[in-house]
């Protein structure tokens, strides 16, 4: 099964790094979509079927936390797994994100192996669900 992955980060550079990591990890990505903030991402999710969201938190316009809250409030998006990739290091804030339903967390700076392992774990969980 090929996954449609949506990368949400305001940095073109970081989106490029994440894309390269997915390619290097041999993850079966069918379509790779990109958004520069939460608002753009929600728009894409209304138009396309997305299987996995990889999202930053600190972004201009709608940030990652508000995007996750809006996803949770919408039947169309509430079941899409979200992995947060962020510089956030506060355990309190990471717990808050987990309570909102994120399925994985990767702390920047990260090595490609870490991001690959988290995504494999999530994809495995998705297979188990389906």
């Amino acid at each position: 099964m090929a996954f449609t992955v949506l990368i949400v980060d305001d940095s073109v550079t970081m989106r490029s790094v994440i894309k390269r990591t997915l390619e290097m990890a041999n993850i079966a990505v069918g379509e790779l979509l990109e958004a520069g903030n939460g608002d753009e991402a929600l728009g894409i999710m209304q138009q396309k079927e997305v299987n996995l969201v990889l999202a930053d938190i600190n972004m201009p316009g709608m940030n990652g936390i508000e995007m996750i809250e809006r996803m949770c409030a919408d039947d169309r998006t509430r079941r899409i797994p979200v992995v947060v990739i962020s510089t956030e290091a506060s355990t309190a804030r990471i717990e808050q994100l987990q309570e909102k339903g994120i399925v994985g967390y990767v702390h920047k700076p990260f090595s490609p192996e870490i991001i690959r392992d988290v995504i494999f774990e999530v994809i495995g969980a998705c297979h188990a669900k389906s």
Binding site: S11, S16, T87, A89, S90, A92, P109
Partner: protein, 155 residues
């Protein structure tokens, strides 16, 4: 306190550059004169929480291109690299700030709020000289490139 702040900034910058861009940062060898940048960008992030302040990084254009190439895994002449040098510096300052705040926190649960990185173009070598002449600015040798940074804290 200032010495502690400088040490934390150097450690954070070193860790972020090594992990993300595979570049080595060190204090300059006083015997060797670093080539100073003629044009560049000054990026800053403001943070608030148990400690508040600003993280700044002054990066020359050549350094920005090389770092973007390393981070993206592309050739320095690639158009994607040429167009995203400033973006790469902004993301690097974001990452440095994250590493630094984890070191400044009293507890792992401490919450900090960060602004989105902002960049100001620096047009000439005079801008570099004026910046590094300020208090508490540290200059580092990153793979032969001179890079300047500053941490300003307000309790």
């Amino acid at each position: 306190m200032q010495k502690v702040s400088e040490d934390v900034l150097v450690e954070s910058l070193t860790e972020a550059l090594e992990t993300t861009a595979f570049m080595m940062a060190m204090l300059p060898d006083p015997q060797e004169e670093l080539v100073t940048p003629s044009r560049g960008v000054l990026v800053h992030v403001e943070f608030s929480g148990p400690v508040s302040g600003t993280v700044e990084l002054w990066a020359g254009d050549e350094f920005s291109q090389m770092m973007a190439a390393n981070v993206m895994g592309l050739d320095p002449d690639d158009d994607a690299v040429k167009n995203n040098g400033v973006d790469a510096v902004k993301e690097m300052v974001n990452i440095i700030s994250g590493v630094l705040l984890a070191k400044l926190a009293d507890s792992p649960a401490d919450v900090f709020n960060l602004t989105v990185p902002e960049a100001q173009q620096q047009p000439d070598a005079a801008a570099w000289q004026a910046y590094v002449a300020q208090d508490n600015v540290i200059v580092l040798d990153v793979d032969g490139f001179a890079v300047a940074a500053r941490l300003i804290t307000t309790e």
